[in-house]
Amino acid sequence: MSDVVIVGFGQTTVGEHWDTDLRKLSYQAIDAAIKDAGGLRPQALYVGNMLAATLSKQAHLGPLLADYAGLTGIEAVTIEAAGASSAAALRAGYLAVKSGQLDTVLILGIEKFSDKIGSGFDEALATTSDSDYEAVQGLTPVAQAALLMKRYMHENEVPADGFAGFALTAHANGAGNKNAMFQKAIKPELYAKGGMVSEPINIFDVAPHADGAAALVLARRELLPSNGPNPLIKIAGSASASDTLALHDRKDMLFFEAAHQSAGKAINQAEISLDQINLFEYHDVFSIYAALSLESVGFATRGQGWKLAADGGIARDGKIPCATMGGLKARGFPGGASGAYQAIEAAQQLRGGAEANQIEDPEYALIQSLGGPASTAVTHVLQRLD
């Protein structure tokens, strides 16, 4: 079967786009991606979005956004998997091209979090958990992450500032990403002074909610000239797995089984081993998720993920560079669009276009997007083609 490659991509800045609506923000990313792909016209649009139906009172995004982008008539549907929505859309696009059904596909991640503010926003966000048995108890995603982090710290004897390494690394990298919401490095003292959100989670353990749109054009490799303007990026592995929706239904809450399963499959498909991976874009919506992802994928042993971050192992010159463009923490967390941002950032690294944040000569990138506490985990391996 033929290879599926990323031909072009485009992204908006991540932040609060008060004056730009869902359709216009989407179009900005789509337009940039299609231009970057040399004007290639996609045969389908797969939209990854989490909450537009609630926050913007707008469902049925496929036709709306395809039409607004001048692509009226093409196949256009939304795929929802909470925070992993656009990663799931990327996988759908990959499968469509891989199967031979389609030659070119457009993937769009879009989230307009700022369309609703106040407690109604928190109510909407909580709908991604088990409504009858989690959300009804007043549980929010950040409180759930706090429950995990507290237990993790209890079992592994983590000091109070043990998770600082995740935020410090993310912010250091965000400083070099002009699309990031936060472009300033922070010092350990600032982390230590961070206000509590839900104990033991402080403000620096939580990625900021933001608006953003990010788009990628996928195509079959044979259709493309070998002398295009940009190096091609191959999707060398793609896998998705699910776990229980409710965290409390798991026998072992401190291991992200779906993250483990999907990463294992994606890496096997790429026919590589873990130590060939040059960078890892993880889903650090909370620092505890980052720690558990490192452990579940296998970069750290159980209970030691926080140490890898504390010891500099996830820095750009570390054992496994993570959040190389700021991650969700510093680039910002645009909900279901996060996975598309990860894919673009990894592609920037593989193309050699990450500027100040460039990692030396990377060949393989692992990207992993989570819905909820890894109730969904979608993992891709991207490979630079020379």
């Binding site: 109510e123 009858d132 048995y133 009804v136 108890q137 007043g138 929010t140 409390h248 809450m253």
Partner: protein, 134 residues
């Protein structure tokens, strides 16, 4: 208004009615049609004792709509004596005395206001420090 959504769960919300698997005897909460332990069909009701212990806990300072009047409140993962874990608020508890492993018992309390003053009040289980243990 979401009356049917809450009404149909009254056995779970007020009495912790789950299931016991006829094949492997696992206790299951909430009820589900397939036993998560053995994969067999599960349909025999079982009422939990309501006793358990705190697996983890935290405080919510910014609550979702319907809960914002009751902030700050404490949510926990409570491991029931019979096996399953549930997510629930803790109530009647002194924050400073809270710790992982603390024995708790189920009580019925108001969970949220569904809508304005004419909306229904949703009641359900919360947990408090176990009275019998002293």
């Amino acid at each position: 208004m979401e009356i049917p959504r809450h009404w149909r769960l009254k056995q779970q919300r007020y009495r912790l009615v789950g299931e016991v698997c006829q094949h492997c005897e696992s206790k299951i909460f909430p009820p589900r049609d397939i036993c998560p332990e053995c994969g067999g069909e599960a349909d025999t009701l079982y009422t939990f004792s309501g006793n358990g212990e705190v697996y983890s806990y935290t405080t919510v300072h910014e609550g979702p709509a319907g809960y914002d009047d009751s902030t700050p409140y404490t949510v926990a993962l409570v491991k029931l004596d019979e096996g399953p874990t549930v997510t629930a608020q803790l109530t009647d508890v002194d924050e400073d005395s809270l710790q992982i492993g603390m024995p708790v018992e189920m009580v019925t309390r108001k969970l949220k206001n569904d809508g304005d003053e004419r909306g229904m009040i949703v009641y359900g289980y919360k947990f408090r420090p176990r009275m019998a243990v002293a």
